[in-house]
Symmetry: C2
Subunit: 203 residues, 2 copies
Amino acid sequence: MTDEFECDRLDRRRRAITDAARALFIEQGFERTTLGQIVERAGGSLATIYKLFGNKEGLLDAVVFEKAASGENLIREIAQCGASPADTLRRLAAVLYERFLDPDDVALVRIVIARSIDDADFARRFFESTAMHTRRALERTFAQWEAQGVRLRGSPDMLAEVFLGLMVSDMQTDAISHGVVARPSAERIAARIEFFLRGAGLA
Amino acid sequence: MTDEFECDRLDRRRRAITDAARALFIEQGFERTTLGQIVERAGGSLATIYKLFGNKEGLLDAVVFEKAASGENLIREIAQCGASPADTLRRLAAVLYERFLDPDDVALVRIVIARSIDDADFARRFFESTAMHTRRALERTFAQWEAQGVRLRGSPDMLAEVFLGLMVSDMQTDAISHGVVARPSAERIAARIEFFLRGAGLA
DNA sequence: ACAATCGTGTAATGGATATTACACCTTCGC
DNA sequence: GCGAAGGTGTAATATCCATTACACGATTGT
C-alpha cells in the first residue's frame, strides 16, 4: 500500500536527510558537522547522500535554498490589504522582525557568510534569492504609493534600503555578537517604525 | 648597533607574522590559511609561531584585536568640535562609512562571524571591543545634546542604535552578499543622513 | 672569541573526515 | 515466489594540516 505521502521513497529519504542536515548545521555549523552524524540521525547511508546530493556542498545548497522563500510574497500580501502606508509599514515591520530574528534563520545566515569565504558565488545566489527580492518588492510598493499621490521624502529605493536596514541590522548584529545584545522589545521596535515614518514624511 | 626600531627582535618577528597572517586571512579566510603559508610569507618558522601565539587561534586573536581600535575616540573627537548636532552627525557619518566599508574590515568581520560558529565567546569579545564601544559613545553624545537643551525625537539609545544601523547595514549587506550590491554613492549616503535628521527631529 | 640562549628548518606524529568501493539485503513488479 | 534494481552498512582510501620533536646555526652579552 503506497501512502500518498510516500509515493516516492527517495523523496522521503531526501527529506529525512535534509531535515537532519539542517538541524545539525544549525546546531554545529557546516564544517563541524560530519556526513557520518547526518547519516546517524537520518538513517540511510553515505552512499545515498552522494547519490542524491553529489557531495557535502550539494547538501548545504539543498538545505539553504529549500527554505529561502523570499519575503516577496509577504510584502505583496500585506501591501495589498489597502491599509494606509503608515499602517502597512507598521504591520510589515512586525512580520519582518519576527522572521529576521528567528534564531534558526540567524544561524543559517552565519553559515552562509562563513561558506561565502570559500565560495563567493554561493553567498551571491543566497542574497539574490532572499534579500534582493524583498528589497525590490518593497521598492515597488513605495513607488506605487507615490504614483497614487502619497508624498514621500526620499526615493523609493533609498527608502526601501533604509527600512530594511532598520529591520535587518538587528539580525546582523545578532549574527555577529552571538547574543550579546538583547533583542529589541516591542516598544523599541515601535519607536523605530515611528522614526522611519517621520523620516519618510509619512507622520 | 641596535636600531631603535629593532630594539627587540621578537617584536619584529611578531609583527612580520601578524602582518602575513592578516593578509592571508583576508585573502583566503582562517580555515583555508595554513600555518605553513604564513611561515612561507613571513619567514621564521612554525616553532616561533607557537612560542609567540600558542596556537593558530591565538594568532587569529592577535590579528583581529590588534586593529580593533574602536570608533570610540573618533566619535568623541568629532563630537567635541562644537559644530551643530546636524553637522556633527553628517561628518560622523562620512567617517564611519569610510571605515565600515573598507573591504579588509569587511573580510575580517566575515572571519569573525565564521569563527563564532565554533567559538561564540570570540564573537562576543569582538563585538564588545568594537561596535559596543561605538554605540555607547554615540549614545552619550546624544544624551549630552539633550542635556544642553537640544530637542530629540526618541531616546538616546534608540537613536544611537538606528544611526549605527543605517551606517552598518551596508557593511553587513556586503559581508553577506559578497559585492552583489554596489556600495552607496555619496549622494545616497547624504540622503540617508538627512533622513535620519528628520526622524530624530533635528531638521 | 666563547658559550649559552634562542630562533630556524625539517621532518615526524596523529587525528579527523570527505569520498569511494564493495558485498549484502530489501523492495517491488511480474 | 522470483529476479532485478537499487538502498544499506562497513570498511578502505587518501589527503590535509595542526601540533610537536629535534638537531643545527645564528646572535648576543661578556
